[in-house]
Symmetry: C2
Subunit: 360 residues, 2 copies
Amino acid sequence: MAVSRRHVAKGAIAAAGTAVAMPAIAQSMPTINWRMTSSFPKSLDTIYQGGPSLAKFVSEMTDKKFNIQVFSAGELVPGLQALDAVQNGTVECCHTYPGYYIGKEASLIFDGSLPFGMTPRQHQAWLQFGGGRALMDEVYDKFNVVSIQAGNTGAQMAGWYRKEIKSVEDLKGLKMRIAGFGGRVLTKLGGVPQQIAGGDIYPALEKGTLDAVEFVNVYDDEKLGFYKVAPYCYGPFVMEMEASINLFINKTAWASLPPYYQAILRAAGAQADTEMIASYDAKNPKALASVLKNGAKLNFFPNDVLKALKTASEQVLDEEAAKNPLFAKILGNWRAFRSEIHRYHNIADARAEIVTYSLG
Amino acid sequence: MAVSRRHVAKGAIAAAGTAVAMPAIAQSMPTINWRMTSSFPKSLDTIYQGGPSLAKFVSEMTDKKFNIQVFSAGELVPGLQALDAVQNGTVECCHTYPGYYIGKEASLIFDGSLPFGMTPRQHQAWLQFGGGRALMDEVYDKFNVVSIQAGNTGAQMAGWYRKEIKSVEDLKGLKMRIAGFGGRVLTKLGGVPQQIAGGDIYPALEKGTLDAVEFVNVYDDEKLGFYKVAPYCYGPFVMEMEASINLFINKTAWASLPPYYQAILRAAGAQADTEMIASYDAKNPKALASVLKNGAKLNFFPNDVLKALKTASEQVLDEEAAKNPLFAKILGNWRAFRSEIHRYHNIADARAEIVTYSLG
């Protein structure tokens, strides 16, 4: 103990001495006030929380000097116009799903969610070590924004259906509330994607003017009660193996920050990302058990349906690549990485989970 | 555009104005110099990198005012004495694997790695939203340290073997370099765990005084060339579905930091965690392809071997719980969470990966 006390004097206690004068000094850190518009309503509490959590992390790391006020969808800016608001400088940043803007640039979907795509973890590996970061930055440069991952929903179930899907035939004419690339895939198989506001989905399913819906996660979907009128839900969750939620920052605003505040924003994004995934991972299993207890029926797509969905998905990607060189460039890189990492996780992490569960 | 310019004046440009005076002001942020001892040699580059990366993130977030000098295993302190060095204040912090210290307190293994356990993502969910954080803090309080996740290897292959493992019988008398709980499980099935220093493994395998080895990840193992003398490797990677690498901080040192430097350490941990997983996920698939090309043979444990390993694993946990009330308390919570999340990921993320790969 004598030895350790001597060492403490060199290290920990020396630091303690320095700390005495800190609070006053810290007052001189630069004060910055930003506004963040979220694409999500507060009712989607887990996904929305990514924004306030990120703001809280930033505030804590800057002794409350860098403050980001978060506005839910519609308070300042409609949810689907968050990118525009950041791009034109109405707000400094937004918390949004990149896939909302594929009408402007389809390549954004690689930072969002693709059927038979990557998990959140695989997405991070692709960004950080697979060349994805440079490719996505090329996309974001077109929008005058810096993008930081700041949340992820994890895999989402492949929808709620009024009737069972027993064959590819059952997808023909299916009126489904499904957006983006998922909608394009459904169209290829004869389905009819619908755009319906969140609050209108339940009554439409009840009346039968809508046959199915793909919304968010089991946890969110349970609150909206879809299982009561469209009780068939489907696994495995291949149609959206993740949905990355990002912080977009106006480049002028970004450039105005000292580098250490930029670094703090990046780190806060990593924390918000991990927190949202963890939060959904803790909530979804309970929500699934709850809806199953209350009448929902979990099925798995038959293999021919899965094959048809996979084929249609790759076709949709190929068609987009044929008309969009940037998309084509990213797709080649993304597919090679996906193939490698799926092969590996099929003997490593993913297979280990499946086998462990099967052993009881 | 006129509208947006007006808005910019309130937000982004206002921030830009503030920024002008920042660099000079930032000079007054408190300077802290810490030392981090790593449990890892620089040759394990990916796992070691978690330390320097964390230090770099902290430095960047504090305008180089909070500096952490990283020492590799043995430079200041032997790798397996990192916790002791932090506990007694020799250094302020260390980057280590909690499982190294199960001889002091077996409960540390819940923050390390368990056979048939959780993936890195599931571990995070357990810590943040499953009650794990409070339980583990109770463990760390005994060691006078604050613990922050700061890396993870992901699932590790179940070893390199000179001969095939075709039945439980083949594990009897097997001399295997394997540590911790994995070693206890092997003992239950008649195997003989060995402790051999890293550099001595290859010659022992070559001579046949050692039959098998479990080391780190395919990426690291390839460099040591085990596959040349023990070519049989096994999946699925159930024996170590993760290995969490943590930053341990002396509590006195921690308390000496202003709260915003504490927050910065936490955030840097989240970044280092994500980075290490991503790095291994990018490297391991290539390493596996490389060793298979060069003669390694990938097998899967037969189902009866998997069952025996699972049964033995649960017995080892039960036996430890019977003599350690803290371990028993954590085990109950951990098992319930594991069961729920494995059930969910078996239709969600993990199953989606398996099915996507199977569809080609």
